[in-house]
Structure formats: C-alpha cells, structure tokens
C-alpha cells in the first residue's frame, strides 16, 4: 500500500511542479507585484496600496468597467438565447443537411479575430459600410456603429459581433445537452398533445438547464475578459482605442507590455478578478432556483 502511494507521488510530481510553477507562482507573484513599482527590468519596489488607490481613482478604469458590464449585459443573454434557439432548431429530426448548418454556425468560431475584425470594421464603415447601406434602403439614417457619440451604441455593436463569433461554441455545448434529452420523453409528450413550444419550454429547456447555466457562466467570464474583439475592430492599441471604448483587459495588456507598468496592470487584473468572482457567485446563488440536475 505504502509502495503504491509512493509511486502515486512520483507520477504526479511533474504535474504538481507544473501547477506550482506555472499556476500558483504567477498568481502569488502577480498579487505581490500589484503592491510594488515594477518595470520588468529592475527589482520590484514595495509601494503598498498606491497602485490600487491610483487605479480606483482613475476615470479610465471605471469607464472600462462600465463598458465591460454593458458588454456582458448585452452579450450574455443574446449569446445564450440565440445559441439555445439555434441548437434547438438544429436538433430537429426533420431537418435536412444538419451537418452543413452546424458547420455554418460554427465557422465564425474558427475565423481569426484579425480577419473578422477587418471584415466587420468594413461592414460598420459609416459612409461605405453594408449595414448603413441596408438602413439607407429602408430610409433609416446611417449609424456610426463604432465611433458614435453614444457609448452604448459602440458597445452594443461590438457585443453583436462577439455574439456572431461565439454563438457556435455555445451552440455546440447546448446541442450536446439537447441530444441527451430522452426520445421517449419527447414522444410521450407529443402523444399527450404537447406543441413544439411546450416541448421546448417545458421539457427540453428544464433538462438542459445545467448546460444553459454553464454557457451563461462561460459567456459572462469571457465577456468580462473581452480583448480580441475590441482589438480587432479598432485595429490595435497603438492606433488609440478611445477611453470611452476601453475595456479592462486592454488596459492590463497596454500597461504591462507596452508601458512596462506591471504594478498597475496586476492591480487592475486582480480588481477584474474580484468583479468576475462576485458575478459568478451571484449567478451561483440563483442557480438552485432554475437549474435542474435531476
């Protein structure tokens, strides 16, 4: 028995080292440097709470939190509900060429942000973009999607692009859940006269709520950590993403790797972590009320 335990430790040792070096150490070190002045080239210098206070007093940080919250508010419900509907439609036995449709919906997921950003920024072009051209056809004034005076319009436009990009991934998770719904249950409900809407709301949805919950948690986390979509649509940090359109992860990247201000970058990262943790706990608190595991 002792010998077996010994070999267990031996075999897990590389993974323990991996966790210690590449997971725990960076977490602890980033917490430490958030209390220091550290430029990557010289030894960290302890400055106490200065970085934290400076970040909390910085207008840009609060604007970025405002933006990312609005982004999550628009993105998470839209992404989850669209993904659910698409998954439900693609799960219909009568649907032909299912694989082809699934491929179409999944294609944006594997499209690089660099390419997607360029294409969407063309589509959003105020004077020459296809979206405003369509609006013009129905007599609606053009919208300045990415550079509107209203920050809500800008964030909503970006959130919609993110829904387009992430829909496929959530759809796959939900589709996997729906495929586990027992056919006998659906058939017996149909025999009892249940309509398609009743099947969806009273049978399929309750059974896949754990998957819906998972998609919501993952979408919320990814929304608060958003980075690529903003970079792709605005064309890069050095071209000047405006303060009104800033998000925390871009601030963190800029401060850490362009300006070599590792202290403020770490403090921002930790603040973002606390926000995500709080929201995840909030979601978990309500989990029992609507998620069914039985």
């Amino acid at each position: 028995m002792h010998k077996q335990r010994y070999w267990g430790y031996v075999f897990t040792f590389p993974f323990i080292i991996n966790v210690l070096v590449f997971l725990l150490f960076p977490i602890v070190f980033s917490a430490y440097i958030s209390f220091t002045k550290y430029d990557l080239f010289n030894a960290p210098k302890w400055i106490g709470l200065t970085n934290w206070i400076n970040i909390l007093n910085k207008r840009e940080f609060w604007l970025s939190m405002r933006n990312v919250s609005m982004f999550a508010l628009i993105f998470v419900p839209l992404q989850t509900s669209f993904a659910f509907l698409v998954a439900f439609m693609l799960n219909q036995a009568a649907l032909k060429a299912k694989s082809l449709f699934r491929l179409f919906y999944f294609l944006p997921v594997i499209t690089p942000w660099l390419a997607a950003g360029v294409v969407w920024s063309w589509m959003f072009n105020y004077q020459y973009g296809v979206l405003n051209w369509f609006l013009g056809l129905v007599g609606i004034d053009p919208v300045n999607w990415l550079y509107s005076r209203s920050w809500v319009v800008v964030i909503a436009s970006i959130a919609l692009v993110n829904v387009w990009k992430g829909l496929g991934q959530s759809m796959v998770i939900l589709l996997a859940g729906m495929q586990n719904v027992p056919h006998e249950v659906l058939e017996s409900a149909q025999i009892d006269g249940a309509s398609s809407r009743q099947l969806l709301t009273h049978i399929v949805f309750p059974i896949v709520t754990p998957m819906v919950y998972l998609v919501m948690i993952l979408s919320t986390i990814s929304a608060f950590q958003t980075f690529d979509v903003f970079l792709g649509l605005f064309g890069g940090i050095t071209t000047g993403i405006s303060e009104q359109s800033m998000v925390p992860n871009i601030m963190i990247y800029r401060d850490a790797f362009l300006l070599f201000k590792l202290g403020p970058a770490s403090a921002t990262a930790w603040l973002l972590f606390f926000v995500i943790l709080a929201i995840t706990l909030f979601q978990q608190y309500f989990e029992k009320r609507w998620v069914h595991y039985d």
Partner: protein, 424 residues
C-alpha cells in the same frame, strides 16, 4: 655543423614559442557578441553582418533573429531574465525608455572617442536626452516628404508642388484638386492621415506649436499654435478636401488611395517608396520637401530605429558591440543601408548612393536635404510611448471623428500628458 644544428633548434623553439603565445593571446581576445535582429534579414541587410564577421575574426557573432513582433514581445522577458542580446535595435522611443530604466549603455563617450560627428546627419543623435546621454545610434532614419501623384495634377491642370510651398499652398492646391460628383467625393486633394509621423505632428509643427517643450518635461498642448495646427487638419477633413477615415479604409488604405489617384498628395515616409515600387510600379509620382511652416522654417518629422548596447553586457562584449556599431556606421555598411531603400542611413557620404538612384521617387533629395534642413524627432522622451497613446486617443475623437472639438481634446491632452510627464 653542430653549431648550425643548435642554431636551427633554437630558432625553431623561438618560432614555436612565439606561435604558441600568439595563439594563446589571440584565443584570449576571442569574444562572443550576441546581436539581436528584429525583423531578421528583411530589416537588416545580411551583407552587413557577413562583412562584419569576415573582418572581425576575433568576434564570434551569434545572431538572435525573429519577426519584428515576436522579437519585441520576447525582448522584455529576455531583459527581465538577463538573457538579452549584447546589442539590438528597436524603435527610438523604446530605446529612450530602456535608457531611463538602466537597460541601455550610454554611448556618448564612445561616440566622442571614435566618430567624427561632422560626417553624420543630426539624426545620429536621435536617442540623445536633454542631459547629454546617448542611449542608442540609428539603425536607419525614416523622414517624411510631400508625395504627389503627377497624373492627378496634370489632369486637374494644377502646377506640381515645389520645395517653396507652405502649408497654405498645400491647402489651396488640395481644394483645387478635390472632385465631388453629386454628394460623393471621387478625389481628394490630400490624405488626411492622423497618425503621429505623417498626421498630427507635422500639422502642429507647421503652425509653430509642438507636443512638448525643449526640455521634454512640459506639455505644449495648451499652446494656441499647437491647437491651430490640429484645427487645420480637422478643417481639411471636415470640409472634404482631405480624405476622411471612412474613405481611406473603404478604399484600401493610404497608399492604395494615393496610388489609384483618389488622393493627389500624401505625407509619405521614406520607407514606403519600396512598397510603391513593388506594388504600384506604373504610378507616376514624385516627392518634394515638406512644406514650410508659418515661421518660414521647415520641419521634417523623422522616426528612427536605434541600436543599443546592453548595460548588463560584460565589458568585452560592450567593446565588441561598439566595434559592430562603428562598423555599421562606417562607409561600407551605410552604403548598403542606402542601397536598400527601406531606410535612410545617417552617414552623409552614403547619400550620394541615394541621390544617384534612378528609382521613383526621382527627387530623393526631398528626403535627404529635407532632414538636413529641418529634421525633427517626434518630441521623443522616455515616456513617449505613454503620452503618445493619450494624444492619439483624443486626436481620434476630435480630428478624425469630430466627436469633440479640437479645443476640448487639446485641454484633455494637455492635462493627461502633463500628468504622465510629472509622474516620471
């Protein structure tokens, strides 16, 4: 006979000893030099490196090359881990930051000892700080000149620009060259670029303003002349004789718009002539010097990539690195840089190679004489990367998108830039 044999033996011994000591001595002088090349040999000519290796057998050269983005991402980690090359180059503003953080060696004493500065353009000192430290020497200089599409000018019957033009002449010509059909502009007079080098910086300089003061410690964005320069750029875009961002993006970017004749003039960086030659060989275009400012002076913005020597390298490696930089700044290497066309060398003698070149633009003197007459850096200092981003944010909001007025933007820029300068 015996004496002869003895003499021969003694002589042989002496030769052997001298040879042995010589070898030992030369072996002791062998030094390894790690040279970092961002952008690999696409950016730095391999001929220069090969020639240096051939002429310096006592220096073992190790090349660390990578695509530009990969190199610049990796170098920060290398510096943190003390595994960086002994000598490498990056953007001049980054080098100034490295100097401030103790990463770069001050080259002032080396330059004073070994270089005749009269043989170089002022750009040699792009990485000099107001207190006289020199954190790097140029890998190459990239100045701006006024490029014009000859075909468009001829079609419009507007005389070509000259070296005597002022910005008022440019604006007037841009108005004449602009063509609008219905409500759609089909041709603009000038590309209203908004980046620092060929966008807002030349406009504030020509109006008599600047980004920072001479000490590089005070923001000058509250200077009415700086604001006036930004307003002229905004006015051109707003009134439609300078391109707007939507038009340029929808039509493939600055160069495509210029080359296709959708815009007649462009502040073009020297390095872009290579793109023009490769992608638009049939376009009839040339350059003149940047227009003169309101005070009659000429300001030619220039950006540089600069070599630096690691302050943490051993003395032997530092000496070898300086040996390399001396070689790079010598006649042979500078002539190779000149022939590449991708950047301007800093040695005056190499300019003959450039001016004798028959490729477009034919008037390359607009660049070479331009920087000699009025070459200015982009008010770079150790915090340039940080304050430049803040300026660009507000320039985008006001000049490019018109979401706020130039005055509001300038007030915001002034406050924030001064905070950054004070903090550092």
């Amino acid at each position: 006979m015996l004496k002869k044999r003895q003499s021969f033996l003694v002589l042989s011994l002496v030769v052997l000893l001298v040879a042995t000591f010589g070898m030992v001595a030369s072996a002791q002088k062998q030094v390894t030099l790690k040279i970092g090349l961002p952008g690999s040999y696409d950016v730095t000519s391999k001929d220069i490196i090969d020639q240096f290796i051939a002429e310096h057998p006592h220096i073992n050269v190790e090349i660390q090359e990578a695509p530009w983005g990969d190199f610049t991402s990796k170098i920060a980690t290398q510096i943190a881990g003390n595994t960086m090359p002994d000598v490498w180059f990056q953007e001049n503003a980054v080098i100034l930051g490295y100097g401030e953080r103790g990463v770069a060696q001050d080259l002032a004493a080396y330059i004073e000892r070994d270089l005749d500065t009269d043989e170089y353009i002022d750009g040699l000192f792009s990485a000099r700080t107001p207190d006289g430290k020199v954190w790097g020497v140029p890998h190459g200089i990239n100045p701006v000149a006024l490029a014009y599409n000859k075909t468009v000018f001829e079609e419009a019957g507007v005389p070509f620009p000259t070296d005597d033009w002022t910005y008022t002449d440019l604006i007037e010509a841009a108005k004449q060259l602009t063509v609008v059909e219905g409500e759609e502009p089909v041709r603009f007079g000038f590309i209203g670029a908004y980046a620092i080098t060929n966008g807002w910086f030349p406009w504030i300089k020509q109006a008599g303003g600047s980004a920072l003061d001479e000490t590089k410690t005070k923001s000058m964005f509250d200077d009415p002349r700086t604001i006036a320069g930004l307003k002229q750029l905004r006015q051109g875009i707003e009134e439609g004789y300078f391109t707007n961002v939507d038009f340029v993006r929808a039509h493939g970017g600055d160069l495509e718009v210029f080359a296709s004749g959708k815009a007649a003039m462009h502040f073009m960086q020297y390095s872009l002539q290579v793109n023009m030659q490769n992608n638009y060989p049939d376009v009839d275009w040339d350059v003149v010097k940047m227009p003169k400012a309101v005070n009659g002076e000429r300001y030619v913005p220039m950006v540089a990539n600069s070599w630096l020597i690691s302050s943490r390298a051993s003395q032997a490696s530092k000496d070898a690195a300086w040996e390399f930089l001396k070689f790079y700044l010598g006649n042979d290497a500078q002539n190779i840089v000149a022939a590449s066309g991708s950047t301007l060398p800093v040695k005056l003698s190499a300019y003959e190679v450039i001016e004798a070149s028959g490729t477009k633009p034919l008037n390359k003197a607009a660049y070479t004489d331009g920087i000699a007459e009025g070459g200015v850096t982009l008010d770079e200092n150790a915090t340039w990367n940080e304050w430049r981003l803040l300026v660009q944010q507000q320039v985008n909001e006001s000049v490019v998108h018109g979401k706020i007025t130039v005055e509001e933007a300038a007030a915001e820029i002034h406050k924030k830039v001064q905070e950054v300068l004070d903090e550092n």
